[in-house]
């Protein structure tokens, strides 16, 4: 008796086919999965996933973590491509936030620039008027 196994990562499909048995490094301990297993959802630890296809052949894949879903006739391994840990994720989030804040700071600099230019134009106009008035007064 066999069941369908998919091993995929976000960036590519790694394995898709039928198997007799699958071994996976679940977070609570190594799992051996045979057909008609109860539905189960678990996280994977870094380790190797072994898929025993017919005739005693075994395919081995390394996963750096991920998620394992078991349905009675289907096993799906969703492998992570990136190294995941709470603090790494946190750092990435901070970086993305910082980019946005920097852009905001730059924008205020731009706005200042625009305002300064407007003020400059106004000041020049005022100066011109002053000059005009002075000339008129000089003429008198």
């Amino acid at each position: 008796m066999t069941f369908h196994v998919d091993v995929v990562s976000a960036e590519q499909e790694i394995f898709s086919g039928t198997a007799e048995m699958v071994f996976a490094p679940a977070e609570m301990g190594e799992l051996g999965i045979t057909p008609r297993h109860a539905p189960l959802l678990t996280r994977l630890k870094p380790g190797s996933v072994r898929v025993r296809t017919g005739a005693g052949e075994e395919a081995v894949f390394y996963v750096s973590g991920g998620i394992l879903e078991i349905q009675p006739h289907r096993v799906t391994v969703l492998s992570d491509t990136a190294l995941r840990a709470r603090d790494i994720d946190e750092a990435a989030a901070l970086k993305a936030k910082r980019h946005a804040e920097e852009a905001l700071a730059n924008r205020s600099a731009e706005v200042d620039m625009v305002r300064a230019q407007a003020e400059l134009v106004e000041a020049l106009a005022r100066l011109r008027t002053l000059e005009h008035i002075r000339k008129k007064l000089g003429g008198h």
Binding site: Q12, P39, L40, T42, L78, T81, A82, A92, A93, A100
Partner: protein, 286 residues
């Protein structure tokens, strides 16, 4: 009529522009093949993820994760994926139009929005439009990596968790075929169920470890996978749109050159005729 020399320099400049657009067209065509393959490669994961989430929404866990609970929308979040570079026709403009339409609809209901932006063009556009930008990432390149997206997505997820936003939408281009790309707005959170008739009723997963902890990482990955798929698809759209835009630019340049060539020939002929007339006139006078 412009002098022959002026027209000649104009033709020359258009010809060099045409060379550039032609080169860009060919580069985009060769890149497109690669990114299309990448898009196909990443599709199984996104699909499987959707399937798992579909099963999850159909199952009856005693614990419901906040990502699966509908709540009243007081503020919404948009993750907008645009390109880094321009010269790709109306791709980005259409995308922004779609985003703005969605935004306006929410604003009529007095719901404001936060943004997470991917790609230079999105950043510069929303800088002009205004609106609160929570996070941004640029220069993802032709082969976006999941690592580069995690941070941006996490900011949005955190905002959702803390109740700052009550809906999260993904705005991106969907690759239909080389000639057409469609800009769409799709809801990421709360998670929407997928129809699946195969499953019998009243069942649940065995969760290892606890559902609370596990669902959090499953749902986070779900959102990430959808955003990643969107980013990869967007690159394919960009290359396709650029190829088409550059092709039409090259064609237009060709047309312009041939019409200018005609004007140039006429001007040259006129000059020769004039000169001949002068010579003949001069000879008759002598």
């Amino acid at each position: 009529m412009a002098s022959a020399k002026e027209i000649r320099t104009q033709i020359k400049s258009i010809r060099s522009t045409q060379k550039i657009t032609k080169a860009m067209e060919m580069v985009a065509a060769s890149k497109m093949r690669k990114v299309q393959m990448r898009m196909a490669a990443s599709r199984p994961y996104a699909e499987k993820m959707r399937q798992v989430i579909g099963h999850l929404t159909k199952a009856n866990p005693e614990y419901r994760h906040p990502f699966m609970l509908e709540r009243e929308a007081k503020r919404v979040g948009f993750i907008v994926i645009a390109t880094d570079r321009g010269l790709c026709g109306g791709l980005n403009v259409n995308l922004f139009k779609t985003a703005l339409m969605a935004l306006r609809e929410w604003r009529t209901r007095n719901v404001d929005a936060d943004f997470c932006l991917l790609g230079n063009k999105a950043v510069s556009f929303f800088r002009r439009v205004g609106g609160r930008v929570l996070a941004q990432a640029t220069h993802l390149g032709d082969a976006p990596h999941v690592e580069n997206l995690i941070g941006t997505v996490k900011v949005m997820l955190d905002a959702y968790r803390s109740g700052d936003v009550d809906r999260v939408f993904l705005v991106n281009n969907v690759f239909v075929n080389t000639m057409s790309q469609k800009s769409t707005v799709s809801q990421l959170l709360p998670v929407q169920g997928v129809e699946d008739r195969e499953l019998q009723e009243h069942w649940d997963y065995i969760y290892e470890p606890e559902a609370r902890e596990l669902l959090d990482s499953v749902l986070t990955r779900y959102v990430e996978s959808q955003v990643y798929q969107g980013a990869v698809e967007n690159v394919a759209c960009e290359q396709a749109a650029r190829m088409v835009a550059m092709k039409s630019a090259s064609d237009n340049a060709g047309e312009l050159i041939s019409s200018l060539q005609l004007v140039y020939n006429k001007a040259r002929q006129a000059a020769i005729t004039k000169e001949l007339a002068e010579i003949v006139g001069g000879a008759a006078a002598v």
